[in-house]
Symmetry: C2
């Protein structure tokens, strides 16, 4: 990644049907690393070498050649990692209607990671009250929400994360029943047996690798594993081998991969569910705000060492 | 495994509620190896050391202390690897009502493996006409049926098996669209890309290991993997590592383990579906019949080198 200066005319070309955006908040998302590896995960999109990165963001409309949008509309969707962007109207996903919550939330709790947590837990996880839920990368953009959704559902919830600070957040801010620092557990299987003596009903999978392999030894009969991500593998050239998969037979476990994009039709229902909880303080959200486009690369790379505490947001401009 | 001689009084003990069986056909099933490994797959049951093996079989009732059964009833369910067995009535799963088909079928096509193929393909696989189906261990007790069910559904069906003879069976007897000998494919990924240039919608998983890892590179969006078994792993102490699991995210694949036992309530529906097809010759079944209890251990062990061609049945007595 390189930071490059350029100029853009802040005026739509004559007859253009595109939309001119001022980018406010950009979202740092793990999948962006994945699609930097040629040939991998092409379903998630691709970057064009020597063009700006593309990604989720919150933007303000400066000028619109498309009748769905007008000047000063706030929108979230796909934009580019630059101050101003000319995008096709199809790249915009939603107009932002509710501004009594922080605008940056539309990169996180009210944006793609929020939808991910919502559909992954409720639609793919099929949770029931009283079930045992384990979440990895639990303090992150997606994980912190899954844990709170699980608590709202009446589940017993344990999360793993990579630092004491994050473990404290899980227990004290997000209301998890328990949490542990996976980096300090030499034997993940033993750790899981300690927190889940009766096994795990739902494992919300964010990291893959050794964590998944240990979880497979601890699933309960008819357990579910919504497979959201496997961040521990995205930077590897030699992938970890999962050896305990046969357990999904004896335990009749369903593992199911999903992408938030397939579920945007549920966005209105999602907002209806979540906005009241946010307004009443029943669901909280921690963001890690980094200022300035020039700090984008470091913020993005930081996801893979756990530098971020909560949702990694990059501020380009505040309005 | 040891062959041991003993005596049994062919008379129910006074007041017993048990059932005295004459065993006719015994079923050699891969899971029997699994439960010989201590601590593994205890959900599947366990053997008692120095007692006869237990397993699926077809038997004739000699005497019954339970009102559900009477002398000369034919039954299938759990019995013991011996000539005569005293069993609890709860070990008997079903009374055999249809005897116009070979009795041995109740160890295979009309027994547990049949139910496995039926629920694994139709209930877990959710097949649709025109979809691409791949089956491993395709000529075996379960696989040969899955392939025929998939053809009945209007799918494109390819199977893998471990010898030329089995590949010929798949293509010429069971009506698979194509088949290959996995032992002659140095690059399974390349083989799958040859047979499925557009990818696989349903992979019926019988073997695990390298085959599964190659399949994961070739699944289509929203594909399903009913995970029936992973026979390539049952004899290993060092299990193969699966490295390509992250593909189930980008491709939104559902992998689901299941056990036939959970679905015996569907047995009447299953018979209603399958019996007419058998009678009309629209579904065929190949059995590998071994005579004599003393040949049981070799037959059972043979499953793990692919010695069996079709369903491995052990004949104890023909009536
Ligand atoms: N399926 C979808 O549609 C979808 C959508 C969004 C996100 N995702 C996936 O969801 C997961 C979480 O994404 P997010 O946006 O919420 O990110 P995040 O959790 O906010 O940030 C990534 C976190 O992953 C953890 N991590 C990094 N390397 C790790 C490793 N080697 N082992 C274990 N943990 C590691 C770090 O936390 P620690 O300090 O705790 O290690 C880091 O803070 C990712 O796998 C992502 O790809 C999927
Ligand atoms: N979930 C359930 O309820 C359930 C019920 C029944 C069976 N199963 C499972 O379904 C699978 C098939 O069972 P089945 O009864 O139909 O057995 P089968 O296919 O009739 O016999 C086993 C076959 O597996 C193949 N095999 C053995 N070792 C292998 C290896 N290392 N790699 C690849 N293939 C190997 C051999 O065929 P080749 O010559 O083709 O290699 C052998 O003939 C097994 O995994 C079994 O555990 C599950």
């Amino acid at each position: 990644m390189k930071i490059v200066e350029g100029t853009i005319t802040l005026k739509l070309p004559e007859g253009s049907k595109e939309v001119l955006l001022k980018n406010l908040y950009l979202s740092c998302d793990p999948y962006m690393r994945l699609i930097m590896t040629k040939g991998s995960a092409s379903d998630l999109g691709a970057f064009t070498p020597s063009s700006p990165l593309t990604g989720y963001g919150v933007s303000k409309v400066l000028e619109s050649g498309h009748s769905d949008y007008k000047k000063d509309d706030l929108v979230w969707g796909f934009t580019k990692w630059e101050e101003y962007s000319l995008v096709s109207s199809t790249q915009i996903l939603f107009k932002i209607e509710h501004t009594d919550v922080p605008l940056s939330y539309y990169t996180g709790i009210l944006g793609m990671p929020g939808v991910t947590a919502y559909v992954g837990f409720f639609e793919i996880g099929s949770p029931k009250k009283g079930e045992n839920v384990f979440i990895s990368a639990a303090s992150g953009a997606v994980g912190q929400l899954v844990g709170q959704f699980a608590k709202l559902t009446g589940c017993y919830v344990v999360g793993s994360a990579g630092s004491k600070e994050k473990v404290d957040l899980l227990k004290n801010k997000f209301g998890f029943d328990d949490a542990f620092n996976y980096k300090e557990e030499p034997d993940l299987d033993a750790a899981l047996k300690r927190y889940f003596p009766e096994g795990i009903d739902i494992y919300f999978e964010n990291v893959g690798g050794k964590t998944l392999d240990a979880v497979l030894l601890n699933m309960r009969v008819h357990g579910r594993i919504p497979v959201c991500g496997m961040i521990s593998q995205y930077n590897l050239t030699q992938l970890d081998g999962i050896t305990n998969l046969a357990n999904i037979i004896f335990k009749r476990v369903r593992m199911e991969g999903f992408l938030a994009n397939d579920f945007y039709h549920l966005y209105p229902k999602f907002l209806e569910f979540l906005l009241p909880h946010i307004r009443e303080g029943k669901v909280v959200y921690v963001e890690d705000i980094v200022e300035g486009l020039e700090n984008g690369p470091t913020a993005l790379v930081g996801l893979f060492s756990g530098r971020n505490v909560g949702k990694q947001v990059l501020v380009v401009a505040r309005e």
